[in-house]
Amino acid sequence: MKLSHQQVEHIARLARLGLSAEERDKFSLQLSDILKNFEVLNELNTADVMPATHSIPLQNVFREDEEASSYSQDEVLANAPRKEENCFKVKAILE
């Protein structure tokens, strides 16, 4: 499967990546190669295999509804590049 430029741009936009025209051409080829590799898997006959969603044989891992102390406000905000009124300060969210 060959990815079109349009598809690469769409993926880049979803990932919030800005690509130059050269990068777009380059990734278009590389991503297509990666997909081609995965297509090998399609050769396997999986008609009798149950679809799996997880790779480890675990189920029903619960925690009880118990409250434990959280981090302090200072710790929570320690890595914030910008903060104000004890909140994370971000670019304007437009609605």
């Binding site: 769409h10 936009r13 979803l14 919030r16 969603t53 997880h54 790779s55 480890i56 675990l58 189920q59 029903n60 891992v61 619960f62 925690r63 009880e64 509804d65 118990e66 409250e67 434990a68 959280s70 981090y71 302090s72 406000q73 929570v76 905000l77 104000e84 009124e85 004890n86 909140c87 994370f88 300060k89 971000v90 670019k91 304007a92 969210i93 437009l94 609605e95």
Partner: protein, 480 residues
């Protein structure tokens, strides 16, 4: 051409768990200072391990059972990917193709007839952070991030804004009966998005689906839907078409406006959440939850009608909240089932009026069922008359004092002593000779006037029927 309205609702309800959905942070974020109920899990730090809150799953199963849903054995969580500042991980843990439950229904009373509204699914996810908007930037408080959020999706089976409102009221009532959510729309613990489209009557071809957001009250849901019906009808009648879009309700203007849709918002690229192993819901656990369900509003309403001989409307109002229904039944238990109608009248009358005026629910009122019954018993015994009972009740409501104490303090007890009333009657007659002669010349209204004079002189305490009786007697005697 007439059009049929087609409405479906998506409701998000925060669950009343102590801790968050996938970490042990306190889930009660509303009153906490910003960013104090936060840990690396709900902060979306890399390398952390979320773990499912069992209570949240239990609450969702309770809701699903109350909504007559099927609960599959297998369920799992998925990542829903999108970029937004209030979603720090870049994905929300939600459920995609294997929700906790599917295919349920609830009933609403639509124009006096029962109508079944099918429920597509009830699933579990996590809430996102809260943002506040400032001039040129926004502030993010992570306390709400990771609070358990239960989503209930209806089939597009409501045919009017009224039905949509009835559905919402019913769903909220069920959640509150179950005690799984406080259902507060204004505070955002119960949120609703509405999908609405029109089609020519008789047709199965739907027009463009409009998703309505920013509906922060029951009234907003109702008004926004009403507005959309009008707007879409006008567009269609002019030969236009309705574009599929998201519109927000502008409460101050009373209109819906196009919202700039998040680009690519529908490309969520769901995939199974690798950090959360799937769940196999044990049938014994489901049965245990089922057996522990409380009586639900619909069943309780039916029972109130048969057990207490109440009308459908009385029973509906009394069972609209579990606490009001409990209050009513506690009072009836103290006073006897034959007084059910009297108690119902008080709860729906003066009590509801005062509660609405102050803006609180019955469970926060200062009057207990015991105290209400004590007051009603004073009326039964003749200590209080009707008007005085209203005064006493209002005083009880505001001060939390007992009826007997207020009666004592304000000297409100009813005067049923004939001699005392006779004295008042004679005074009223001698003070109002005109009314007395009016009565004698056949003017019946003069009797009411004179009764009023006596009631006023006794500050409403005189037994009104006794006053009337003695007045007629005295008028007759003085004539002879």
């Amino acid at each position: 051409m007439t059009y049929e309205t087609v409405i479906g609702l998506e409701v998000h309800a925060q669950l009343l768990t102590r801790s968050k959905m996938f970490c042990s942070c306190n889930a009660d974020y509303a009153s906490a200072p910003p960013n104090t109920h936060v840990c690396p899990v709900c902060l979306g730090m890399p390398g952390v391990l979320p773990v499912i809150n069992k209570k949240a799953v239990e609450y969702t199963i309770m809701t699903a059972l109350a909504l007559n849903c099927t609960i599959p054995e297998y369920t799992k969580f998925d990542r829903k990917n999108y970029s937004y500042p209030d979603l720090v991980k870049g994905y929300q843990i939600s459920q995609y193709d294997y929700p906790i439950s599917e295919h349920g229904w609830l009933t609403i009373d639509s124009n006096g007839a029962k109508k079944k509204i099918n429920i597509t699914r009830v699933h579990l996810e996590e809430d996102v952070a809260k943002s506040q908007h400032r001039e040129g930037y926004s502030l993010i408080d992570m306390n709400r991030s990771g609070v358990p959020l239960m989503e209930t999706v209806s089939e597009p089976e409501m045919r009017s804004p009224e039905e949509a409102r009835d559905y919402l009221v019913k769903l909220r009532s069920i959640l509150r009966y179950l005690g799984v959510s406080n259902g507060n729309m204004e505070e955002g613990s119960f949120r609703c998005d509405a999908n609405i489209s029109l089609r020519p009557s008789g047709s199965t071809e739907l027009g463009g689906k409009v998703e309505l957001k920013n509906l922060n009250s029951f009234k907003a849901v109702y008004q926004a839907l009403q507005y959309e019906v009008k707007r879409q009808t006008a567009v269609l009648e002019e030969g236009g078409t309705i574009a599929q879009e998201t519109r927000g309700w502008a409460d101050d203007k009373g209109i819906t406006v196009t919202q700039r849709s998040k680009e690519y918002a529908n490309d969520y690229r769901y995939f199974p959440e690798p950090d959360l192993p799937p769940l196999f819901l044990d049938r014994a656990w489901i049965k245990e939850i089922h057996d522990g369900l409380p009586e639900l509003p619909e069943a309780r309403k039916e029972r109130f009608m048969t057990q207490y001989c109440l009308s459908l409307s009385d029973a509906s109002i009394l069972t609209s909240s579990r606490t009001m229904a409990d209050y009513f039944e506690d009072s009836v238990r103290l006073m006897g089932p034959d007084r059910a109608k009297l108690i119902s009248n008080w709860i729906q009358g003066d009590f509801s009026r005062l509660l609405n005026a102050v803006g609180i629910e019955i469970e926060s009122a200062k009057i207990s069922p015991e105290e209400l019954v004590e007051m009603l018993t004073l009326v039964d015994k003749g200590t209080l008359n009707g008007p005085a009972a209203k005064v006493v009740f209002e005083e009880m409501f505001h001060t939390g004092k007992k009826a007997s104490a207020i009666v004592e303090e304000k000297k409100l007890s009813q005067i049923s002593d004939a001699a005392e009333i006779k004295k008042e009657v004679q005074q009223a007659m001698s003070g109002n000779p005109r009314a007395v002669s009016d009565y004698r010349s056949g003017k019946e209204s003069a009797l009411a006037f004179l009764t009023g004079q006596v009631m006023r002189a006794t500050r409403g305490r005189a037994n009104p029927s006794l006053v009337r009786e003695i007045l007629i007697e005295e008028l007759r005697n003085s004539q002879e």
